[in-house]
């Protein structure tokens, strides 16, 4: 027996080593139709596990705990699921609303906020237990409640979000989670459809659907209020139909320029970050949906709304030209860069595939099967403001 012990100990430690898994290069891929999440390894290009029964994931998004162990999946049907990426299992799951659109994790990693369409507002939960911490209904006017979009985290333990129907931006300060302080910015423009936070946490920008331009909030100067920028752009041009709302999540900022999708025009706007005026426009293949900078910001990748959603275009930031048009397959819905940008993963819904590209050569590296994938989220997001 005594002789056996060290042997047993050795056996156990071998097992333990075999089971160890780091999570810094993992990611979650959403399978829209089946309501599944795949855990993937971005270094090895491998599918590790499939987590099932997450509900309606038609507009799902994911944030990560700061230890990168847990992924929080926000489903369209109000589902909020906490996935343990070490155990390949659901840790907790709740249905917190009837219809929701996305979420965010607080600066300190302790709070998860979800933005809801019905009932409109945000709800804030403990990231540990998923117990409700605060409920902030988006009431405006008499008996009116707005859909909430563009929810992001901001420095100072705050969340910022936009009210689609009300045309307002709200900021909720959660330094005291039991009594959040809410600051409202009314009249920011018609129908903000999504918003983003600059990676330095300095600016919050909401895109407007109901009128030309964007709403800009400078978080270093809240007293200045929300500034309406690019108000004149496209005001006299015919607006083309928009078959899918653009997403502003991937703030593409490169040097002095910010890249954003135009709405109702097949163009990417290049905005000068010093003056907030239009520097240039780049004609592209369709209505842009995601306009995302490679982490080093040398390239900007763009995908498109139906019916041009079989393509991806790459803008060379050096001279603001299109350097290549790729055709990954039918219905390109999302893209995600590896943390330092040497590769990008592309979700091709109708071909049931994930395509990995080398961003330097723009050549395909590999394809992985996934059933109707519509979102790719890498755990490196855990340490990024506004994601």
């Amino acid at each position: 027996m005594i002789k056996l012990l060290p042997l047993l100990a050795l056996l156990f430690s071998f097992n333990a080593i075999a089971e160890l898994r780091a999570t810094g290069d993992l990611g979650i891929v959403i399978e829209r139709e089946d309501g599944n999440a795949l855990i993937i390894n971005t270094t090895e290009h491998k599918r590790l596990a499939k987590i099932e029964k997450l509900g309606d994931l038609s507009h799902a998004s994911v944030v990560f705990s700061r230890d990168q162990r847990y992924a929080y999946v926000f489903g369209r049907d109000g589902g909020l699921t906490k996935i343990d990426m070490l155990k390949d299992a659901i840790d907790k799951r709740i249905i917190q609303a009837g219809n929701s659109i996305g979420g965010a994790i607080s600066q300190d990693g302790k709070l998860i906020a979800v933005s809801n369409y019905t009932p409109g507002g945000i709800k804030v939960f403990s990231s540990d237990t998923l117990e409700l911490v605060a409920d902030i209904p988006s009431d405006y006017g008499e008996g009116l409640r707005s859909k909430v979009v563009g929810l992001v985290d901001a420095p100072g333990q705050r969340f910022v979000f936009s009210l689609f129907d009300a045309g307002e931006i709200w900021m909720a300060d959660f330094k005291n989670p039991k009594a959040p302080a809410i600051k409202k910015f009314p009249n920011i423009g018609k129908q903000p459809y999504d918003a983003l936070m600059s990676p330095d946490g300095h600016y919050y920008i909401a895109g407007l659907f109901g009128e030309p331009g964007l709403a800009l909030l400078d978080l270093w100067n809240l007293d200045a209020g929300v500034k309406h920028i690019l108000s004149d752009y496209g005001k006299d041009d015919e607006k083309l139909p928009v078959y899918k709302m653009p997403h502003l999540e991937g703030w593409a900022v490169a040097g002095d320029y910010v890249f954003a999708p135009a709405i109702g025009q097949h163009k990417v706007l290049v905005i000068d970050k010093n003056t907030w005026e239009l520097h240039d426009t780049i004609s592209v293949a369709g209505q842009p949906v995601f306009v995302m900078a490679r982490p080093d910001a040398r390239q900007v990748w763009v995908n498109f709304a139906f019916p041009d959603n079989n393509q991806v275009q790459i803008i060379d930031v050096k001279d603001l030209s299109i350097s290549k048009t790729l055709s990954p397959g039918k219905a390109v819905l999302h893209m995600e860069f590896t943390p330092r940008g040497e590769q990008v993963w592309v979700a091709v819904r109708d071909d049931n595939q994930l395509v990995v590209y080398d961003t330097e050569t723009l050549q395909e590296i590999t394809r992985l099967p996934a059933n109707k994938p519509n979102g790719i989220f890498f755990s490196s997001r855990a340490h990024k403001i506004g994601l």
Binding site: S58, H59, D77, V242
Partner: protein, 101 residues
């Protein structure tokens, strides 16, 4: 333009769309319409398109909403991608809530 002709060529102008067109339309309903109305059509940026929600609204009204979109709202016109017949078939599907393939 090529896409449009191809789409039109596949559908006869009267009666039900061909089986292959039906499955393309269902896919469109789930995914492209679903982007705004939700995969299960319970609503999102656009309203729910479930039978209860559409009850009392005339076919013609819904068909022309689909084909022409609605000015001043996020509902775009789908005329370039389907004919009236196909829009009518979609309304029928929505009323029966036969949204799953």
């Amino acid at each position: 333009m090529l896409v449009i002709t191809a789409v039109l060529a596949k559908t006869s102008l009267a009666g039900e769309p061909s089986p292959e067109r039906q499955s393309a339309l269902r896919n469109m309903l789930n995914h492209d319409c679903g982007a705004c109305h939700g995969l299960t059509l319970k609503g999102g940026l656009g309203p729910a398109l479930l039978p209860e929600a559409l009850a009392g609204k005339p076919d013609d009204f819904l068909i022309s909403t689909i084909l022409n979109g609605r000015e001043g709202t996020a509902m775009p016109p789908w005329q370039p991608f389907m004919n009236r017949n196909e829009a009518a078939w979609l309304v029928e599907i929505l009323r029966k809530s036969e949204t799953k393939p």
